[in-house]
Amino acid sequence: MYSLILLNGGIGSRTGANQPKQLLKLRGIPILVYALVTADRVDQISQIVVNYPPEWREQIEEVLEAYAISTPVTLVEAGHSRHSSVAAMVPHCTNDDVIIHESARPLVRGQDFQRLIDSEFRNVSLMSEIAFTVAPVDPETSAVTGSLDRSRLRNVQLPQKFAKSDLQDAHSSAREQQVEFTEDATLVADSGFPVHFIDGSDRNFKVTTSTDLKMAGFLLRPEEDDDE
C-alpha cells in the first residue's frame, strides 16, 4: 500500500489571486478537490498526507469534510519551500512506499497513479518529452554556452513514487549538504538511488498562471461540447 503526499502548500503568488491557488475554483470546484477525489478512488492508496499554507488549515478541512474523502487524511503545515514541505511530510507516511503529487495538477487521472504503481521499479516519476529546444546560457553575459540534446532531457512531472526509506535518506543527505531541490526524482537520483521514468501526458500540466487555469477549465469541459 502507498501513502500519498499531496503538496498543497503554495500561496498562489503567480496566479495573481488573494488566496492559495489550491482553493481557487476550477469549473466551480476548488482545484485541490480534483486530485483528492481521483486519489481517493485508487485502491492502493491507503493514506493521504496533505499540507496546507499557514492560516488556511480551516478552509482545507472544510473541503475535506464537504467532499467526504474516505481515505484517511493527515494534515501537516507547509514548510518554507517545496523541498522542506516534503521533508516534513515523509515522517507522517505510515506505508513503506510513498507517492508524491501536487494539487496544482488537477488533470491527473486514476490511470496515471495506476501506471506508476504498476511499474516494476520502486522509485519512478512520470516525465514527458520536451517538445522545444532548451539552450544552456550564462545569464550574466547573455551568452549561449553550447547545446543540449533534448532527446536526453525530460520534463519532470508528478505523480512520482519512492521507497520511503530512499526518499528519507535523500532528504537527510540534502540537509547535511545544505542543498535544496525543486522536486524529488532528481534529489533521490542525485543521492545515488536508482530512479526511473515512465511517459506522462502533456494534459497533466501544472496550473501556475491564470492562463493555465483557463486551459485546465477548457480541458475539463463536458465532451459533448465537441459534438456536431
Partner: protein, 235 residues
C-alpha cells in the same frame, strides 16, 4: 454487481411504477429504498410489492415528507447507514397547488420549492457529504419547467429550477463519474396531473408505467448512451 436505488415519492404514480420496474425487471437492482409520506396508499403499495418480490430482492419503505428538510436529512442519513451506498437516485416526489399569481400564498410557494427543488438538493447533498458515490441521479422535472404556464407559476418555476440545477449537478458530479439525467415528462396520468387538469380523462394521456420504463432504460447499461441535458418524455 447488485445495486441499491432510492426513489422519492414512491407511494404512487411515476415513483411507484419506477420502484416496481426496478425491483422486478432490472437485473442489477436488488434493493429499492422507497421514500413517501405516511398514507394508506403507501402501505398498500408496499404490501403489494412485497407479495411479488423475487428471492434476494427487497424494498425498504421509509415514511418521510420530502418537504420537511429536517426529517428528510434524518431519513437519508438513516437509510445510508442501513443500506450503504445509494447507486441510483430518482428524485421524483412532487407537489403542486395551481392558483393564479394574485392568489398564491407565500407559504404554498415555499412548500412547492421545498418539495420540488430543495428536497432533491437535500437528498443529494446529504448523501455526498456522507461519502456516497452515485452512479446515476435522475431528477424528474416537467415540460412545464421548460416554458412557464399560466396558472402554474410556482410549479413551473420550481421545475425550471430543477432543470437548471440538474445541469450544474451534472458538471460538478462528473468528477466522480456520476451521470445526472433530468427527465421532463409531459402529461402523465398521476394524482399531481389530476390537480393540474381535473377535467382531463387520464386514460387518454401517458401512463406512469411508460415514464417508469424510460427511467429503467436510463438506469440500465445502455442508458449511458441516452444523454441529453433535459430528456422530454411525452405522448
Amino acid at each position: 454487481m447488485s445495486k441499491t436505488a432510492l426513489v422519492t415519492g414512491a407511494s404512487r404514480g411515476i415513483g411507484l411504477e419506477t420502484t416496481r420496474r426496478f425491483i422486478l425487471n432490472n437485473d442489477q437492482i436488488t434493493t429499492v429504498v422507497m421514500f413517501a409520506r405516511d398514507s394508506e396508499d403507501f402501505d398498500a403499495a408496499v404490501a403489494e410489492l412485497e407479495a411479488e418480490l423475487p428471492i434476494g430482492r427487497r424494498v425498504i419503505p421509509v415514511k418521510v415528507d420530502v418537504g420537511d428538510r429536517g426529517a428528510l436529512k434524518k431519513a437519508v442519513k438513516h437509510a445510508y447507514d442501513e443500506v450503504g451506498n445509494i447507486d441510483i437516485l430518482v428524485n421524483n416526489a412532487g407537489y403542486t397547488n395551481p392558483v393564479p399569481l394574485q392568489q398564491i400564498k407565500m407559504a404554498d410557494f415555499e412548500k412547492t420549492m421545498n418539495v420540488n427543488l430543495y428536497g432533491p438538493f437535500t437528498v443529494v447533498k446529504t448523501l455526498l457529504n456522507r461519502g456516497n458515490r452515485f452512479d446515476l441521479i435522475v431528477n424528474i422535472a416537467s415540460t412545464a419547467g421548460i416554458n412557464g404556464r399560466s396558472g402554474w407559476l410556482a410549479y413551473s418555476a420550481s421545475k425550471a429550477a430543477v432543470i437548471n440545477m440538474s445541469q450544474a449537478m451534472r458538471e460538478e458530479l462528473s468528477i466522480y463519474g456520476t451521470r445526472v439525467v433530468c427527465l421532463s415528462p409531459g402529461r402523465t396520468a398521476t394524482a399531481l396531473r389530476k390537480t393540474l387538469a381535473p377535467d382531463e380523462d387520464p386514460s387518454t394521456i401517458m401512463q406512469p408505467e411508460h415514464v417508469a420504463q424510460v427511467i429503467n432504460t436510463i438506469s440500465s447499461p445502455v442508458g449511458r448512451f441516452i444523454d441529453s441535458e433535459n430528456i422530454v418524455v411525452r405522448q
